[in-house]
Structures are given as structure tokens and as C-alpha cells.
Symmetry: C2
Subunit: 137 residues, 2 copies
Amino acid sequence: MTSTDQPPPSAPALRPTKQRKAVTEAMGSFTDFRSAQEIHELLGERGEAVGLATVYRTLQRLAEAGDVDVLRTEDGEAIYRRCSDSHHHHLVCRECGATVEVEGPTVERWTRSIAAEHGYADVSHTLEIFGTCPSCS
Amino acid sequence: MTSTDQPPPSAPALRPTKQRKAVTEAMGSFTDFRSAQEIHELLGERGEAVGLATVYRTLQRLAEAGDVDVLRTEDGEAIYRRCSDSHHHHLVCRECGATVEVEGPTVERWTRSIAAEHGYADVSHTLEIFGTCPSCS
DNA sequence: AGTGAGTTGACAATCGTTCTCAACTAGTCT
DNA sequence: AGACTAGTTGAGAACGATTGTCAACTCACT
């Protein structure tokens, strides 16, 4: 092992299996937030049955990689949605789930200053906005 | 049933039982966020054993009434904390859970304007800030 | 003391999620 | 192409937080 070009330790070998592709593709077919179970069901309807455990595993990977956003419903269920790379938040319709990605330098600045003010380091935050979208009200 | 003074329909009769008092009191004995199970355990240690189901029920009531804040941990567990009446957010230490309540007219304004911009009504939002507190870093 | 609606607690049941593990597969080396 | 192997899959068991069930209890009021 005298090779000089190791791949970055970040990617621990990920195989593009049929199942993973199916999940990734399915994530592109809707724009609201859905639960793992719903996504599993969707895959079944599409004729690309994938084991529930695999759906969970794949969604986890995707979330870690930042390819999907994860939210928690009021009752603790995890819901997923494909997302853009950059840091952003969501404006979600309570009724139909319609979601808009929003960015806010204002909030970013604000949270950072608040944290600094209290001496907190390594700041991160979660922010979601809920409301009733135009077509639901 | 000819009485003319009904109590406001908001309060459907709430009895101040020993258990409820115990839970409420226990909530005053710490300032970080704790899970229902931890609170149940705490009560046990204090010699005021309260059934787990009752702890859950009571915390729910308190949360509905706005007397405690509820958060979801990364893995979906609900955690509770006594809170002030006014609308506020939290700056939570990832390590020790030390929590600071923060207010932010800035954010309130921002979320409202974002929502309006997209035509969303009945806006609410959740915002939590996580970081490492001074004594943990 | 008696009454009844609200409350409790032990336990079962639910439900989302993770674990287990034998069977399978993509990629690689020969 | 065949063999090898580490990563992957899926069915089902296991798990853990939370909620439901229901008979026994208790507070507040007569």
C-alpha cells in the first residue's frame, strides 16, 4: 500500500444499486415532504418495490449527504424532501404540504449574533415556517 | 340546565391533583430540556412516584396550555422545559443542554414578511439554535 | 357520608424506526 | 468467464417512545 493518492476519507464506498437509484429517482417525483413509509409505498406503486429497511437506510444516507432535507412532524415522524445544496429553510403549507425553500441572510446573521452574545460556539439552527398556502386558504 | 353563567369553554375542568402538582413542581426544578421518561424518573427519585402515562398526559396538557416548551431531539424524542409566557426561541447547548430563552423581533418580522411574500396565511414558525456553551467548549 | 365526573396507573397495544443475518450483487482481480 | 469479497438487500424480529384501555380511586360538591 504505497499508493500516494488515497481518495478522501469522506466517501466510504457507496454502490449505485438499483434500489438506491429507485429511491433517489422517486425523491425527484414530488416536492412536498413525505414520510419514509409513504416513499416506500410510492416505490411499490411505481413497480420498483424496495424493502422498507432499505428505504430508511437510503434516506438516511441521502440526508447525511445533504441531498434531502429532513423535518419532524408534530408527532415526531421524520419526513423527507429533495433539496438544493445551499443552506435554506422551508415555508410549508399546513394543509397540503406545498413547500417553498427560502433563504434568509437576516436570520443567519441574527442567530450568529445571538449565539455569540451568549458565548455559544459551533452554532447551527433549525427554522421552519408553517402557514396556509394561497390555494388552501 | 338554566344557569346563565357558563364557564368559558376553554377550561374543561382541570383538577389539581397530587400528581399534577408533582409534575408541575418538578418542571420547576431544572432548566434544561428533559424527556418525559427522565421527568418520570426524577419524580420517582423525589419520592413522588407518578405513573408514566400520567406524566405524559400532564406534560401534554402543560404544553397545550403553553406552560412548557416542547422540542424534538434529532431522533424524534419529545423533550420538555418550563417556559415563560411570551413567544420566544431557544439557544441550546449540544453538550450539556443548558438553555437560554431568546427573543427576536427581527426573526418574527422576517418570517412574517417571507410568508406574506408567498401568500401564506396563519403563519407560525419554529426556530431553535444549537451550539456549544461557554462552559462546555 | 354519598355521588359522579375527572383522574390515575399497570399493562397492552401502536407505530415509526432500527437491528439481525442469511442470501444476493457489483466491482475487481485472474 | 469464473472466483472472491465487501457492500447491500429484505423479511422479520426487536426496540423504544408514546398512546390507549379500563377498573379502581379521589376530589369537590351535596
